[in-house]
Symmetry: C2
Subunit: 139 residues, 2 copies
Amino acid sequence: MSDLLERLRERGWRMTAQRRVVAEVLDGEHIHLTADEVHARAVDRLPEISRATVYNTLGEMVSLGEVTELATDHRAKRYDPNAHRPHQHLVCARCGTIRDVHTSGDPLNQLPAEERFGFTVSGAEITYRGLCPDCAAAA
Amino acid sequence: MSDLLERLRERGWRMTAQRRVVAEVLDGEHIHLTADEVHARAVDRLPEISRATVYNTLGEMVSLGEVTELATDHRAKRYDPNAHRPHQHLVCARCGTIRDVHTSGDPLNQLPAEERFGFTVSGAEITYRGLCPDCAAAA
DNA sequence: TTAGTTGCAAAGGCTTTGCACGCGC
DNA sequence: GCGCGTGCAAAGCCTTTGCAACTAA
């Protein structure tokens, strides 16, 4: 489960109660949370943790390459702890929920050289859009 | 060139100098601009146009389905006037520039039913990440 | 004419930052 | 003990909104 925490420890990252809680919260959910949602869940375990620390901590995990930041159509970014497992995202257009999904084949191969315009292309991600079961039922 | 303006007129959208200028600016660039960049270019043609109007206008074009809003890792959203032409995006991780590119095949078909988790999936987009020629040279 | 659009300025949501205190190593 | 991490509150950036004046059809 807490694979993320493990990886951070192995890297010799200075561990504090706050950082541990943020890592646990992120890794414990199969959907991807916003910074504020991470903060809310973190407060349950460590009431005095501040929003600033959650933001700082998430930012550092992203810099370390252990967490991926997901831009969204809604305002707040979401955070994905599975940075080392290749996967794609399924996004609900209505509520913004993001789920990991898996497809076969590497999309990188689908971009021919003449469509690269001199860019050094290092990654590709697919985002599937639709409605989650709950929102489809409500609509 | 100004295909977007054409489409908006055909829909009977009430046309004002501000709306025309926003449409012209958006359609005139082969990269995708932020709202503020659109405003800056719009001011060159119509000095008294306000930021609020640019935001409102872009938002309405998105609601009409004539422009696509692109979430980015950087803070500001970018706007894509080619809503009716299937294409993907090539993003520079450093400066945030977005370019349209074309691949073969429809990514929607790559998501098997058992990976849809009850979602009604209606669209898919691919984002390629890398460094644009300028940023690669600067790095 | 008149309903819809604009500009202004203020408010709003999300995120970052400066600084003094506190804690992991 | 040292240096990095934390919390607080304030600032910052991007965006939205309320309202009175204006204008396209």
